[in-house]
């Protein structure tokens, strides 16, 4: 009977244990329900003051830890099929040797690597051989650094006002920012970098003491108003560019506020910060930098938008632009052929403007900074990255089809574009060989003039799509059209070379050897 009692006791022990475990589980569930209910309250606590001078993102991060954490993640952008992160990103010049010939005579032929995330942008610029081995202009920092407080400080100084930290922190002062922008636009890179380091990047609100912490890559203050947290555009290049675009007659159905401003009688200047819709702003903040521009020391940083946003409209503006010294506009002299050509930067905003997503009212942020639920709070992800890394949140909000199907569609577009880029590149290199051959055979400048024109058009078009970051996705038909034109102009140039019928016929020979 002792064993009976013992076994009775073990049963009791087991039951107690089971009931205890059940209680544990119920309490865990209770706490979980409690936490979920707390989540739904969306708390926000302001712990530090940020102002117009706070180019250092860290204090902003104390108020907005979620957004800051996301922003810091941009150093970890994973590698997609067409771009992404590496400690030292792979060289595009090694992957596509034709780029070296396309950019011959231009800094991009020395060092040209895959893009990395936003938090890297200043550090990457400081070490690229394009900057260390070649004298670059300070205009490059318009987009790579959190430079607005510096523009404002220099602007105020040139306007004869005192630029104290309090004054810098107080107000955006577009007039001063514009003045500063014009002042430093043609200075050397190193000079402007030093100016940025001299500008306070924060302020102790109690004592008003400036904090000098060095230069930062583009950060919170570049897209947000520190008083209201509203998104805004700050880049003078964009402010001037979008005003030119608004004042043109080119239809821009994807930018309703511009159309409205035109309809309302075009009063004064078009100001995106007061006139654009929130949805437009969600693209404008990106369009401040992800565009085509002139950025060197011969004239002020320029967005070529006075005819519209299409590739040939930008080209037309460059065709009619002259430098202050009276010379025709060009970006670089192509070293192999001596032709003055244009360099396309990274016209994502312009190409997106030609695509179906823009036309449907989808902004850059909708795909690259999709909303996500953190607890019960809806946050726009500040981990700006390829939508292909986040198909569920970036695409499936609208496209109710399986992820694999979405990925397959994008792959098709990008692979086709890539194949067309390679075709255009082959045509371009053959064209360079043909032109070099006729030059050797003694073609005169007069004979070469129409060929140079074709060369410039072919190279600009190829570069326009090759250097754009979406590999055709932002507007696939437009990308294919532009590459088709590039191939056509390359081949026209080759035909024109052959038609010259120079004595030794070396043009054909060289072309044949190359193949």
């Amino acid at each position: 009977m002792a064993s009976d009692q013992k076994s009775g006791f073990s049963w009791l022990l087991l039951l107690t244990f089971i009931t205890g475990a059940a209680t544990f589980a119920v309490v865990a569930l209770l706490v979980n329900i409690f936490e979920r209910k707390q989540e739904a309250r969306a708390p926000f606590t302001k712990v530090v003051e940020v102002s117009e001078v706070s180019s250092d993102p860290e204090p902003w991060g104390l108020n907005f830890p979620q957004q800051y954490e996301d922003y810091l993640k941009t150093v970890n952008d994973p590698y997609t099929d067409f771009g992404g992160n590496h400690a030292l990103p792979p060289s595009k010049l090694e992957e596509s040797p034709w780029l070296k010939r396309l950019f011959a005579g231009y800094a991009f032929s020395i060092d040209y690597r895959e893009a990395r995330g936003h938090a890297h942008m200043l550090a990457d610029q400081e070490v690229t051989k394009r900057v260390t081995d070649v004298q670059q202009s300070g205009a490059c920092m318009h987009c790579h650094a959190s430079i607005i407080p510096t523009y404002r400080r220099i602007g105020l100084e040139t306007m004869g006002e005192e630029a104290t930290v309090d004054k810098l922190a107080e107000d955006f002062r577009m007039d001063a920012v514009l003045a500063g922008f014009k002042e430093v636009s043609q200075k050397k890179y190193e000079e402007v970098h030093a100016e940025v380091e001299k500008t306070p990047d924060g302020m102790d609100p109690e004592s008003g003491d400036p904090h000098i912490g060095g230069a930062h890559p583009v950060s919170c203050v570049d897209c947000h108003d520190p008083k209201t947290m509203q998104i805004r555009v700050t880049r003078p290049g964009f402010v001037l560019g979008i005003d030119k675009l608004a004042k043109s007659d080119e239809p821009v159905p994807h930018l309703p506020s511009v159309e409205q401003w035109r309809k309302d009688g075009r009063q004064g200047d078009y100001d995106p910060n007061t006139m654009a819709t929130r949805q437009e702003m969600r693209s404008f903040v990106c369009g401040q930098c992800h565009v085509e521009y002139y950025c060197a020391n011969k004239m002020t940083l320029t967005f070529p938008w006075s005819n519209g946003l299409k590739m040939e409209q930008l080209e037309a503006e460059w065709d009619t632009t002259t430098f202050p010294d009276g010379d025709d506009f060009y970006d670089y002299v192509h070293k192999e052929t001596g032709t003055k050509v244009y360099k396309a930067q990274h016209p994502e905003f312009e190409l997106w403007s030609q695509g179906i997503h823009a036309r449907s009212g989808v902004s850059c942020s909708d795909c690259h900074m999709p909303y996500e639920k953190v607890g019960a709070t809806k946050v726009s992800s500040h981990w700006v990255r390829s939508p292909m890394m986040n198909i569920n949140k970036a695409c499936q909000t609208c496209h109710k089809i399986p992820e694999e199907e979405i990925k397959a569609r994008v792959d098709t577009i990008q692979d086709r574009t890539k194949a067309l880029i390679e075709r255009a590149a082959a045509a371009m290199t053959e064209m360079l060989d043909a032109i070099i051959a006729v030059q050797k055979a003694g073609a005169s400048e007069e004979q070469l003039a129409p060929i140079r024109k074709l060369q410039r058009k072919a190279m600009w078009r190829l570069d326009y799509i090759a250097s754009e970051n979406s590999k055709g996705f932002h507007a696939r038909q437009e990308a294919a059209r532009i590459l088709g034109e590039s191939i056509d102009y390359s081949r026209q140039a080759i035909a024109a070379c052959w038609k010259l019928e120079l004595d030794d016929g070396s043009a054909e020979e060289t072309a044949a050897v190359e193949e």
Binding site: M1, T19, G20, A22, L29, L30, F34, A40, K373
Partner: protein, 175 residues
């Protein structure tokens, strides 16, 4: 006192035990008391959790029940904008109209919803499962059968386009 036979039985087997228990033996052992206390705790905490978690609401048709989980807030908001807002609540479209199917589906969805919400890691925007898509399709037809009867496939299980493929806004506008 009532258990007099027990100590006697024990005493025959063990002298030590009989000495300890010969005078008076409690009706329940210490273990039983501990167990009872813990069981009581479980019952209390369980009842509280059921109430705090609005457990009873899951037996109702009230759409507010669905936003007990904040994940469903957008769905409720978009339902309020939709054309069906005045004629159908969540359960009318998302649960079968026969009583057994209704409660089986409710239990099935209830379990997996709470599992997902508690453990986390579900996809967002969430996507309807094939089984639940079949349910919505059947409820569309159940209410509209007089009107759509000529459109239905001639034989059961024949392929047909889902109603919400085109009428995506009827239940959830602007999504």
């Amino acid at each position: 006192m009532t258990d007099q036979s027990q100590p006697n039985d024990l005493s025959t087997n063990s002298h030590d035990e009989s000495k300890a228990t010969s005078t008076r033996r409690p009706r329940f052992g210490k273990g039983a008391i501990v167990f009872a206390v813990i069981l009581g705790l479980l019952f209390g905490v369980g009842t509280f959790t059921f109430g705090y978690g609005k457990g009873a609401s899951y037996l109702s048709n009230n759409p507010q029940t669905c936003v007990n989980c904040h994940v469903m807030q957008d769905h409720l908001d978009s339902w309020q904008q939709s054309s069906h807002h005045h004629v159908a609540v969540c359960n009318d479209c998302h649960l079968p109209h026969d009583p057994i199917g209704k409660w089986v589906t409710k239990a099935d969805n209830g379990f997996f919803h709470s599992l997902a919400f508690t453990v986390g890691g579900y996809k967002d925007p969430i996507r309807i499962k094939p089984r639940n898509r079949r349910v919505t399709q059947s409820t569309c037809i159940d209410c509209h059968k007089d009107f759509v009867h000529p459109l239905l496939p001639a034989t059961a299980n024949d392929d047909m386009q889902s109603c919400v493929h085109c009428h995506a806004d009827v239940g959830h506008a602007g999504r």
